[in-house]
């Protein structure tokens, strides 16, 4: 195998880690939405999200580092429109994911506290789970990742 094949494998592995991790976090977050969800159940699901987070960060690192290397190796230009767009979306997606991650960590701590205090379903906790900021940042980061995947495949303007 030549360098290009290795770089493509590592770059695509990054995409799998990133989108796969977002899918894991998204499914677990979606599963936490339920009127009668007890705080201990929400805490359990959000604790499992922690396993997806390293996968997402590894994916971000691999897609970015090996993606830039691939641009050089495949003799594209760093100023090409599709490359610049992908990098901008990568930065936006990372920022959105980071907002969602921070908020979910706070929600998990609240859920753990409420679980220890009787474990009754809490409207406040439900409001945190359904927070528009969390929902928007979580799902928008997933959509941005899909947009980057589309750009990588179509390479508009290349």
């Amino acid at each position: 195998m030549n360098l290009y094949q290795w770089l493509l494998f590592l770059h695509i592995s990054g995409a799998f880690f990133l989108i796969g991790g977002i899918v894991v976090a998204g499914i677990l977050h979606f599963s936490a939405i339920g009127k009668q969800r007890r705080p201990s159940e929400i805490a359990t699901l959000y604790a499992l999200v922690r396993f997806a987070v390293p996968l997402i960060y590894l994916g971000l690192l691999f897609t970015f580092a090996f993606g830039l290397w691939l641009v050089h190796e495949a003799q594209f230009g760093y100023g090409d429109g599709w490359v610049v767009t992908a990098i901008i979306l990568w930065v936006i997606g990372s920022a959105l994911g980071s907002i969602g991650d921070k908020s979910q960590r706070e929600t998990r701590l609240v859920a753990e506290r409420l679980a220890a205090e009787g474990d009754a379903p809490s409207p406040d906790l439900r409001a945190r789970v359904l927070s528009p900021l969390v929902l928007a940042s979580t799902y928008a980061s997933g959509l941005v990742a899909l947009a980057v995947l589309g750009i990588m495949i179509w390479k508009p303007g290349a």
């Binding site: 290009y4 695509i12 995409a15 894991v24 677990l28 599963s31 495949i153």
Partner: protein, 150 residues
């Protein structure tokens, strides 16, 4: 360099195939996570986690798998029409998805059975089968992306 010069008409099936594959990877990993978490909890909580694992398997993993496999066939028909000989890296993909479909079905049946009662001996098999399939998907994405041997 083949990826750089592929015809425009291959892009949509390729996009859908990669999308389906990443969703399949994420959904299978989630089933594994919930399954392992369900092994170490009190019976009521374990049952709830196993039910969740079964629902995610049925509602997310199965559609994702179908998207991945159907799009794979679509692009394979474009790239290797008729009786054209397929390369080894493509055969790896078929090996992972065809017996893989049986593995997913078996895993779902076991997940359904283990979600029905506490203390089922089938419980431990589900996360291990899901983990096995995550590894198989990893082998497929190595073959599909690096295309060793051409």
């Amino acid at each position: 360099m083949v990826a750089l010069i592929r015809p425009e008409s291959w892009n949509l099936p390729l996009f859908l195939h990669v999308l389906g594959a990443t969703l399949t990877f994420g959904a299978t990993a989630t089933v594994a996570l919930l399954g392992f978490a369900g092994l170490r909890r009190e019976p009521e909580r374990a049952l709830w986690l196993r039910r969740l694992a079964f629902r995610i398997g049925l509602l997310v993993l199965v559609p994702s798998f179908i998207l991945m496999r159907a799009a794979a066939q679509w692009i394979a028909n474009k790239e290797y029409p008729g009786n054209a000989k397929t390369p080894g890296w493509l055969d790896v993909g078929f090996i992972v998805t065809e017996p893989g479909a049986i593995l997913v079905i078996v895993m779902l049946i076991l997940a359904w059975l283990s979600a029905r009662r506490v203390g089922s001996r089938l419980t431990a098999a589900v996360p291990w089968l899901a983990s096995l399939y995550v590894i198989a998907l990893g082998i497929a994405w190595f073959a599909m992306s690096a295309k060793p041997g051409g």
